[in-house]
């Protein structure tokens, strides 16, 4: 080959590589799929709804959220002794504390998942996706969104409401915050939408009609709609699938479980490591340990806190790292109804006492007197909830909701009942206004 030919060949090589370049530079991802091909048929719609549940289980109720709420409740202490734990137990949170941003982001992440479902599932045309299933998927998405906004509002108070999926960042900029009451109203609207869409079956690790109604009853307590709360719980408890079982045991998979979240070896229940491994992060304080182990108070619920050979208190709620996480248990329905019965316009004290005793009897502790007055019954509910949900993130929210935080937690500043809006969020969206009592940002 002479030189001229070689040069020609070289030029040919260069130019041919030019043409093939465009294709060479198209590389599709292996582990992920592009936006456009997400919800378009039955199985992709089902997968998206499962993704929303995973968000609920592994983001919303990830370990740190429970950790913070449990410590705020005052009966559980952290063994990590991170300095942010001091901020938590002293009710002295600052907006730049990292976990706040994590919780905020987690809730909205799950909400965005549900928004995609609510927008896209109705548009799917697939013979295999019948109306019932389509309704079920939509109903579940509404209920998951409701639960996420409910917790978001309980934690942060004044938050923005978004009901459509994010396509570009600008979609979500510059929206005014809604008040906690407005967010609760939105939660109610979602639950009302979900109820008729959902099936009446019982699937304890998915949301069905009874689950949505039970959630709505919980919301009604926050909205002080006691008659409605009682009615809803009556509806749920009328279903023989939800009843208390004696002796007390962990509720997973039983009729004591109204909604539980599932974990697996790949998506572990982070709560397990918080409590149960030998280097656990949380420990029941002596006071709650002693209550749980008092036969007149905790009864069979003493399994929730066990003193080991080294004298440490070991919290016993998640036996393995794949144990279910509890969102609503049947016992809560009884105690919620008890509260509703006491506080409704025409109090039903004996009904309330019966509900409390239902829980106490199943826990093998003596019944409370039928002659207690209204305040005494309320206190009995509070005390019962304290031991019944000793290791679940209830007490903080309960004490705030019932106005008992000053008396019980010595926390008189109502600004501290909601956490600060994360500082980074205010920087990213200056239309956010910091909650009162937490400075400018």
């Amino acid at each position: 080959m002479n030189t001229k030919n070689k040069t020609l060949l070289f030029l040919l090589l260069i130019s041919s590589s030019l043409f093939s370049c465009k294709k060479y530079l198209e590389v599709s991802p292996y582990d992920t799929i592009p936006d456009e091909t997400t919800i378009y048929d039955r199985s992709s719609a089902e997968a998206a709804v499962r993704g929303a549940y995973r968000g609920l289980a592994s983001l919303n109720y990830g370990s740190a959220f429970q950790n913070t709420i449990l410590q705020s409740g005052g009966d559980i202490k952290s063994l990590n002794n991170a300095q942010t734990d001091l901020n938590v137990i002293n009710y002295d949170l600052r907006s730049d504390i990292a976990f706040l941003s994590t919780y905020w982001g987690n809730f909205y992440n799950t909400i965005n998942r549900t928004n995609h479902i609510i927008e896209k599932v109705p548009l799917v045309t697939d013979n295999k996706l019948g109306n019932d299933l389509k309704n079920q998927l939509l109903g579940e998405a509404y209920a998951i969104r409701a639960l996420s906004y409910f917790d978001l509002a309980r934690v942060f108070g004044n938050v923005q409401i978004f009901l459509t999926p994010t396509n570009v960042v600008a979609d979500k900029l510059g929206v005014k915050q809604s008040t906690q009451a407005e967010v609760f109203a939105q939660v109610l609207e979602d639950l009302n939408k979900a109820e008729p869409l959902l099936p009446t079956t019982i699937v304890r690790n998915r949301i069905t009609r009874s689950t949505a109604v039970a959630l709505r009853a919980r919301l009604y307590l926050y909205q002080k709609k006691y008659t409605e709360a009682e009615a809803d719980i009556n509806t749920v408890l009328a279903n023989p699938g939800y009843k208390l079982i004696k002796p007390f045991n962990l509720a997973a998979g039983t009729s004591e479980s109204v909604l539980e979240l599932s974990y697996s070896v790949n998506d572990v229940n982070a709560g397990y490591a918080q409590w149960n491994t030998s280097n656990r992060a949380l420990e029941p304080k002596a006071v709650i340990h002693n209550l749980l182990n008092d036969p007149a108070v905790g009864g069979d619920r003493k399994i929730l806190s066990v003193k080991n050979a080294a004298g440490q208190f070991i919290g016993g709620i998640y036996p393995t790292n794949t144990s279910a996480g509890y969102i609503i248990r049947t016992a809560e329905l009884f105690l919620n109804r008890a509260e509703a019965r006491v506080l409704k316009t025409v109090p039903d004290l004996s009904g309330a006492i019966a509900d409390i005793n239902a829980v106490r009897v199943r826990s093998s502790v003596p019944e409370i007197s039928a002659s207690l007055n209204k305040d005494e019954v309320l206190l009995a509910i509070e005390n019962e909830r304290r031991v019944e949900f000793a290791l679940e993130p209830f007490r903080w929210f309960d004490l705030v909701r019932t106005g008992r935080a000053p008396a019980v937690l010595n926390l008189n500043d109502p600004n501290k009942y909601i956490f600060p809006i994360p500082a980074g969020e205010i920087i990213a969206d200056p239309s956010l206004v910091q909650n009162p009592g937490y400075g400018r940002n």
Partner: protein, 1051 residues
Amino acid sequence: MQNFKKGKHLYSAYSLLKKTLLLKSSIVVMIFLPLISFSQTQPLINSTLKGQIIDAVTKLGIPGVSIHITGTTHVVQTDKNGKFDFVTGQKFPYTLEITYVGYEKKQVVANGSPILVELKESASQLNDVVVVGYGAQTRKSVVGAIVKVNAAETKQIPVASFDAQLQGRAAGVQVGTYSGSPGEGVKVQVRGTASINASNEPLYVIDGVFVNNNSLSTLDLGGKKTSPLADINPADIESIEVLKDASAIAIYGSRGANGVILVTTKRGEYLLGKTKYNLEISHGWQKADPDRLWELTTGPEHAMLVNEQWVNSGKDKPSLNQTYENRPFRPVTDVINGVPGRGNPEDQQTYDRLSRVFRTAQVKNYDLSIQGGSEKIRYNIGAGYTDQEGILKPADFQRGSFKLNLDSKLNDKVTLSSSNGVYRTFRQQVRGGAGQQAGHLLAALHHPTYLPLYNADGTPARGSIYENIDNLVNTDITNISTTSIRYIGNQFIEVNILPGLKFKSSIGLDYDNYNEREFFNDQTIIGGSPNPLGYRKEVFTTSTIIQNEQTLSYVKALNSRQNITVLIGNSIQSTDVKVAQEVGQGFPNNFFQQISAASVRTADQRRSKSTLASFFGRLNYSLDNKYFLEGVIRADGSSKFGANNRWGFFPGIGASWRIKQEAFLQNSETISEFKLRLSAGSAGNQNGINDYAALGLWSGSAAYPDNLTSGPKPGVAPAQLKNPDLKWEKTTTYNAGIDLGLFKDRLFLNFDAYYKYTTDALLYLPVPQSTGYSSTLANAGEVSNKGIELAITGTIIKSKDFEWSANFNISRNVNRAEKLVSPITFEAREYRRTQEGAALGSFWLYKQLYVDPTTGDAIFQHADGTTGTTVTTADRQLMGNLIPDFFGGFSNNISYKGFDFNVLFTYQYGNKVFNFNKYILEGGGTRDASRSILKSQLNRWQKEGDITNTPRVTSVGNNYNIEQNSRYLEDGSFIRLKAASLGYTLPASVTSKVRLGKVRLYVLGTNLWLKTKYSGADPESSGSAGQNLDGLDTATPPQPRGIQFGANISF
């Protein structure tokens, strides 16, 4: 370096060349021109010889060269094209001596006509060959800002990777050694940090192969990363060039913006004659400087502080119900609420764990190289073995390497070359983290000293969150290791199409099979009850970088005054990383360690790929050896960017003026070189961003069951917002430099000033999380770096027996975020923040002004100018950064007769370090039984009138519960005696008797002295290799102090 006996090899068939030069001078003799017979006038004709003498670098003919047949009086000179011919009565073969002013004298054996001889310019700084992108230039013709580092100088520093060895050697190159554990990541920054979220590491090119510099480590090592460059044996390296300015880096286009580090490995020599063997053996010991290790409180002191904090907190907040009566360290018999006391403070024991994890480590190194070459083939073989123990048990780094560089001339036009390196590294690793993951160092350092090592029943005791230290250092119980098999090679063919016109095509491969293992037996937290017994993880990662490049270069002398060099080329490259991971839990017993025996088995697999296609060209023009011009352009297309912005164009231009060549300076005795360099241009950056950063993505890892019995079923969730406009980060650089040689270059000075401006900076723009995402990658910032660099090389004394030379370099870089949409904070703890007008990643803290002598409370500065004990986020302020005001190194090399003495100091000044470890361990006793306490905590405020900056110990208020307290920010300036060596070369009269060439024995000390105000173990420590997290000392093993003995033998 070796003299061969004259005569012995002179007329042998292959050894045609007598060599007297330095190792690095490579001489190429090539049969080239067609044989042309010619008539002659001499009656006795035994041979006719025709040939050409060319410059080894420019490949241009050299006129006026003298060619002399040794043993005769016959001398001819080359014509204007460097050609010569003569007829002689001598018979082939005979020796030619070729001489020319400014060039090295050369002897070649002619054994046929014609011959082509390459002549190298004589060894002086000006004629030094400097490797540049896709070529080489002589120092005097270099236009760009390029530092050449001689590997022979740096390789003795006993750290595993060559990038760490660069510390203090090159102006403008900042090297940070994060940790004293061997084989871990190093920070290398050339001229500051331009990028916020894309990588700031330079591009590494080894023998033309773009090598992977991103750690493949997937294990939880507490933020520590392994260094992929530690795979490469420094002993194989000939030289390292650092390209810094636009005209030098623009040829690397999109990847050049952070500077380019070109590594050239040793090659053989054609016609070398006797094969050269070189053996290097060294053995050393290293340990942590005991004065720099952390000092902890004793058991009684710890207990006393915790009690004091307990009572103080109780007074501050009565609702805590904390009193002296129920203090934690009270008599054991004092049972409150069913909880017995832990014993009075004075009853506490003190248990030392640091001595159980630190050790005197051994460092062994063996290198053998074989260099040889015949007329057609040359080769260099390097075989090496290194074993470096870490001072922190059980860290160990072992590397076996084999290097073969082979060049073979197929015929007079075609050369096939091959560079091959095969490396096996084994790392016994330590965890760096805290908490459940139980870092090896932290389990010793952070474990409260009053807690016993063993329980009463003899089982290993654990603190509340730490693994027992003896369980961690015993590799039968906890074993974390990585084996990597890596091949880096480049195969190329070079065709000399016409004189001056050369075509080169290459295929390069960087393949890394990276296998990580973890095993925790049933005694450990991770592998022990109540978890399934035993935990094992295996991760298989393969990284494959394949590249193909073609270049066509043309060198032409336009006339006697003007030369041009033209280069054009193309390049394609793909990078493919695959990860497969398996975890097994629940083993029958500790003898079963393979996952097949586990009762619970899980697997994971992922893959990521990117491609890059490029075209590039360069034009060099020189006039009168006085004016030099260089123009460069590269076009890069990357799969990482949106379809709209896939291609980027990066031009660069440079010029230099050798003022010395002007008439008014030509005869100056004082000034031996004076050169002015100017350059401007742009380069890009895309390194370190996700391969699919521009796409909107949903991820599949969101499984959930359909009912209680279905088990998990696949689920999807949004993972990333799309950004189809994503494009190249672009850095425009301006550089002005002066090279000044004085007194025949005895004193040589390089000075550079630069300005770099980065636009479209790639950054993870924080977005409101209400979008469902926390950030999106965007081109949303502008960053500037400006700086000056000075390097001085001096030969202070040079006589027959005594030589003293010194090098000094100093650099300053000023970094500033010029434009940002909003301030960006980094990672969960947000210690560092980038905001407009300040240096990237400045520390963002609450400023503690003082401790009130009356109350003992920390007083903070408020944003509105007032002071007080309370703070809100608005009170945080930027308080300096980790960029030094200036940094550099200086070295002295002294030789006297057979002795040589070298010292190297490195220094930096004005950078800040956040002593995170101090924040953890000076927690005022609030961390009680979960962490140890530093001795410095005893300086706390105790009573009215105490003047101290360590506040009263309490868990209430802000004395101890502000993580980002400026109290922990310290000055990180230091000067360090990095290395000092003393060597002795045996006299040749002795070594030749035992048929050895050169024998040098030496002793080398490292990190012998450190001067710093920093209170942590090492001012260079950084907890994490993440670029936005460094400057945060989470406690790492300090750089060890070491001594080693070695021998260097050639034969």
